[in-house]
Amino acid sequence: MAENGALLRVENLVKSFDGLRAVNNCTLEVRKGCLTGLIGPNGAGKTTLFNLITGFLKPTSGRIHFNGERIDGLPPHLTFRKGIVRTFQVPRELKSMTVLENLMLVPSDQAGERIWNPWLFGFRVSRQERQIYDKALQILEFVDLQHLRDEYASSLSSGQKKLLELARTLMCDPQLILLDEPGAGVNPALMKRLVERLELLCHELGITFFVIEHDMDLITRLCNPVIVMSNGEVIAEGSPEEIKGDERVLEAYLGGQYLAGT
């Protein structure tokens, strides 16, 4: 039975590529208002899981519920509509568009996105543009990129691109943000700020986060609970301390055979 407060629930999810099961009978829950961490060795299927949740891949079998609604198999733009946004492990910025444009693209249902609206309802487009612009500026300030707003996104450093990815997700008032390694390549000072920002977003605005991260320090500081995946399955879940003490997790990382299932 669904536990109260589960925003995202993944049940028996399977994804196989040419017989190889990247995600194997994975079942997990992300509770509302939490910063849930997702860790696991390389090839555990973490990014594949993200791709399945956001609709970039279609599951072979299994179910994904978001807010009690089934979302598996929806294309990316529809999962986005439901309130799920993601970042990419390797930042995929829109290279020859400015930082500001990268953000202003995001809000959905912009009046000006219908080709005839700029002609018929110019004032509405105009007003909305102003709102989006203000919001983009706010968010740029939030992630400390406001001085770069008119630069092409391709000229950013890799850490700044990571922040841009985060900023992009904030443009649309999401319910759930999936972050794929937000910390990689971000320098320590920025990182500290990033952690503060994420906590602020989570606690003040009630946005739920689901974070893949390799940096255990960051996970410890940021996330609770932490879910551990290995070979496409969830093998443990708990607070960072519990995870660190969990024999199975260490086994998964260091090798040796963990106990499969149940």
Partner: protein, 241 residues
Amino acid sequence: MGVSILPVLEVKDVVAGYGEVEILHGVSIKVDEGEVVTIIGPNGAGKSTLMKAVFGLIPVKKGRITFKGRDVTGSPPEKMVRFGLSYVPQSENAFATLSIQENLEMGGFIRRDGLSERLNWAYELFPDIASRRHERAGRLSGGQRQMLALARALMLDPQVLLLDEPSASLSPKMVEAIFERVAQINRSGVAILMVEQNARHALQFSRRGYVLAMGVNRLEGAADELLESAEVGKLYLGAEP
């Protein structure tokens, strides 16, 4: 194994990465003749990047790589193979549209003679792929594909074999089989430098090990010492230093 004065492969203070992103911030590793060395470390430590940098697949920005005392820094992979190194990438390590036999022939591409003997040798070492030699490699199971990748890399009779996570996404049984095969290859005199996720398992087959984290050396030592060390677990799960 006798202790040689010069290591076969030595990596000194190598700095490398993809494009502007630097992942290795000065890593040093050495491999003596005939030994198995395992590199372990948490995700994102730069283990695979190190392999690629050594093999010339990504540019080395700083540092030196020497093979038998000869500077091979920045040589392209097709040259590395001629020096006597061989490399098994982590994924996509077989030509899926080629037959198994053709895969092995490609492994021996620069060989001038003795190809058929070497082929027979490979099939003897890996009997499970021998029976399917005219099938496309894309049809093999994960474990068999890994065997094929090993066999392909051995076709040139290399002195040093670089293995990038040979046990990745294999069943426990298969992992066992792969490691046994690796040990067997080593007994035939090939030095092995291996990156592994499966740290404990790999260290059991190794003489020495290195632990990388965040693109720098963190620990090194004899394999059994590392196996016992509590430090290693902490590096993975990030207890406060």
